[in-house]
């Protein structure tokens, strides 16, 4: 429908919304639980960029917006704004993570062992045409269940690889910091940003943006090419202080997260410093199974600890330009009319010509 952007807006919007509904509906409907169960990694990506952990609502958002990542993130973020914020959770100790996967690129043997878990890393990326024929009723659920129970044994928990290095004094001493974490969702970032703010911002960053930042640092626009000391993926319990007794906590549920600790040699300039060289860490923690983003986060984090003029070392640059909602909002606003400002521009351009 043709419209003049300043008049007839109401009818045009109504028609547009009807069209959207038409585009969204298809001959073959898909349920929210179907999306939740089958598009898990996509659901994880949405939850992580939205900073909102709910598989069901993430799947609902995807269903509502034809599977657009940025739209789904947008829906969840907006919904998040309507919820009162009653608690901050207590710190989670990831040593208590119920692991589904855990690898170290630093050591062959680690206490507790390497657990490959579900990963695409060693799969061959060949289109599996037999899936074209796969129908819900053609999957033999019974045998599937057997295989799963064969695969899963007892719950696995284990300490972290960095605990070993710390015991050997190979890790850079980092004093325990128990200052109240900065909350980026209810405060404007100020610079230099505390590490808690940096990590929160990265955790919610657009995965593509964060990947680009990390990649640039590894390729030479920066200094960080880390060793992944440990990547682990599993479930952690989230607890909040108990209202009636602050020393007690209440467990409110379990979330699936990916955690990465990356190591880089500390910067040295003199021979003496070289002798005392230790390892410094970058940290990544992301909702869901989201490995590349977690690794990218650890690199971005480590990169901000280094000195230099590359984009990945510039706090303000990397912390203010990676939010999916903010970037897509501002880019898309260019579609709004700008007649008045353009009129002012014309006025200046014309006068310049006349002058």
């Amino acid at each position: 429908m043709a419209y003049v952007a300043v008049t007839g807006g109401k009818e045009a919007i109504e028609q547009s919304l009807k069209l959207l509904e038409l585009f969204r509906e298809s001959g073959e409907d898909i349920t929210v639980s179907c999306i939740k169960e089958n598009m898990r990694l996509l659901v994880d990506k949405i939850m992580s960029e939205a900073g909102f952990y709910s598989e069901e609502y993430a799947a609902l958002a995807l269903k509502q917006c034809e599977g657009s990542v940025e739209e789904a993130v947008f829906l969840l973020r907006a919904y998040r704004s309507t919820l009162p914020r009653n608690y901050y959770s207590s710190p989670v100790d990831t040593r208590e993570m119920r692991l589904i996967r855990r690898i170290s690129a630093a050591f062959k043997d680690i206490p507790g062992g390497q657990i490959l878990g579900p990963t695409y890393d060693y799969s061959h990326r060949l289109l599996n045409f037999s899936l074209l024929e796969e129908r819900p009723d053609s999957i033999n659920h019974e045998s599937e269940d057997e295989t799963l129970s064969d695969l899963s044994g007892d719950d696995i928990y284990c300490g972290r690889v960095t605990d070993l290095l710390r015991a050997e004094n190979l890790l850079k001493e980092v004093p325990e910091d128990n200052t109240e974490p900065f909350d980026v969702t209810s405060n404007l970032l100020t610079f230099p940003a505390p590490r808690s703010a940096r990590l929160q911002t990265f955790a919610r960053s657009d995965a593509g943006f964060l990947g680009g930042v990390a990649y640039s640092s590894m390729r030479g626009y920066g200094a960080v090419h880390p060793t992944v000391s440990e990547l682990r993926c599993g479930y952690v319990e989230v607890c909040v202080p108990y209202v009636l007794d602050e020393t007690e906590t209440l467990c409110i549920g379990e979330i699936l997260v990916t955690e990465v600790e990356a190591l880089v040699p500390s910067h040295t300039e003199t021979a003496d410093e070289f002798d005392k060289m230790t390892l410094a860490g970058g940290y990544g923690m992301i909702f869901g199974r989201n490995e590349n983003k977690a690794i990218a986060m650890s690199i971005a984090d480590a990169s901000l600890e280094t000195e230099g003029n590359t984009p990945s070392q510039d706090q303000e640059f990397v912390l203010t330009h990676g939010d999916s909602l903010e970037m897509s909002g501002f880019i898309s606003h260019l579609k709004l009319p700008h007649y008045v400002t353009f009129q002012s521009k014309l006025d200046r351009v014309r006068e310049k010509e006349e002058a």
């Binding site: 419209y3 007839g8 907006a78 704004s81 303000e316 709004l336 700008h338 008045v340 006068e351």
Partner: protein, 288 residues
């Protein structure tokens, strides 16, 4: 109305609204100073007026009457969209009559009819930092404001003058508030800048993506930056008038008449124009 089971009056939860109102109070207390706030995500895109909407949602009550304009127009898609959202989550009365409204939210314009002291104008701001044109870093501009170190800004205006013989900033022309803070008036045309000075009404500016709120309370001194020997210039509509209502001395939209190919002009403020025409036709029952 959207379903009240899942959504609060005015969308945001009460705690968030209170927090935003506190930031507004601080902004009113320090005119022109950008108060950081915990900007919430809304169902409308960041960069599409979410700063203004958050202010509106935080101050609106059931008795308020709201007008929303975009580029001077009540019927522009974005204005319609914002009105629809606020209406759905508050159920307040919506009007196009700027004199009837208690809250007017606007993007890129200040209404032609001067606003009163029982009204509030909420302006949407994309880039609140006026010094951004001379300094990209927030940490640096913050310090510049703290020290009132504005030489960079003056220098950039001067460079402009030497290059073009006039200041080339078209809209969003920087202002000085109470001789203290340089403030971005939002992308209003230069023509509207004077309405900020010593006004009867309260102006609230909201930048959602950049997470800042600032304010111009009534009777605040607001000057557009100028040099003693180079006066501030507004857009020039001399000799032009609205083809619909005949108004002169207002901000006009330039339109090409499809039939004749001629350049013609219409009031940019559509509510103002309609009001004039209704009165000219003796229609005193001016309604939406």
């Amino acid at each position: 109305m959207i379903d009240t089971k899942h959504y609060n009056f005015a969308f945001l939860d009460e705690g968030s609204k209170r927090e935003i109102r506190r930031s507004i109070l601080k902004a009113v207390a320090i005119p022109g100073y950008q108060v950081p706030f915990g900007s919430r995500e809304l169902p409308i895109g960041r960069g599409w007026g979410t700063g203004g909407i958050q202010i509106t949602l935080s101050i609106i009550g059931k008795e308020d009457v709201l007008k929303v304009i975009d580029q001077g127009s009540d019927e522009s898609v974005n204005a319609v969209n914002i009105k629809k959202m606020v209406e759905e989550c508050t159920g307040v009365e919506i009007t196009t009559d700027s004199e009837k409204a208690t809250i007017i939210q606007s993007r890129h314009r200040i209404p032609e009819i001067p606003m009163r002291n029982d009204q509030i104008l909420v302006l949407q701001v994309p880039t609140p930092e006026p010094l951004r044109i001379v300094e990209p870093k927030e940490s640096v501009t913050k310090q510049m404001h703290a020290e009132a170190e504005y030489s960079g800004m003056w220098l950039s205006l001067f460079e402009d003058l030497t290059l073009y013989d006039k200041i080339s900033i078209s809209s969003e022309y920087p202002t000085m508030v109470e001789n203290r803070y340089i403030m971005n008036p939002s992308p209003i045309p230069r023509y509207d800048n004077r309405k900020l000075n010593d006004s009867e009404t309260l102006y609230l500016f909201g930048a959602g993506r950049e997470k800042k709120i600032y304010a111009i309370p009534p009777h605040t001194k607001v000057e557009s930056l100028f040099f003693d020997d180079v006066p501030f210039e507004t857009e020039n509509f001399e000799g032009k008038s609205c083809r619909l209502c005949g108004a002169t001395g207002v901000f006009l939209d330039e339109i090409v008449d499809e039939a004749t190919g001629e350049k013609v002009y219409e009031c940019n403020d559509t509510g103002f124009c309609k009001g004039r025409r209704d009165r000219q036709h003796g229609n005193t029952n001016f309604k939406n």
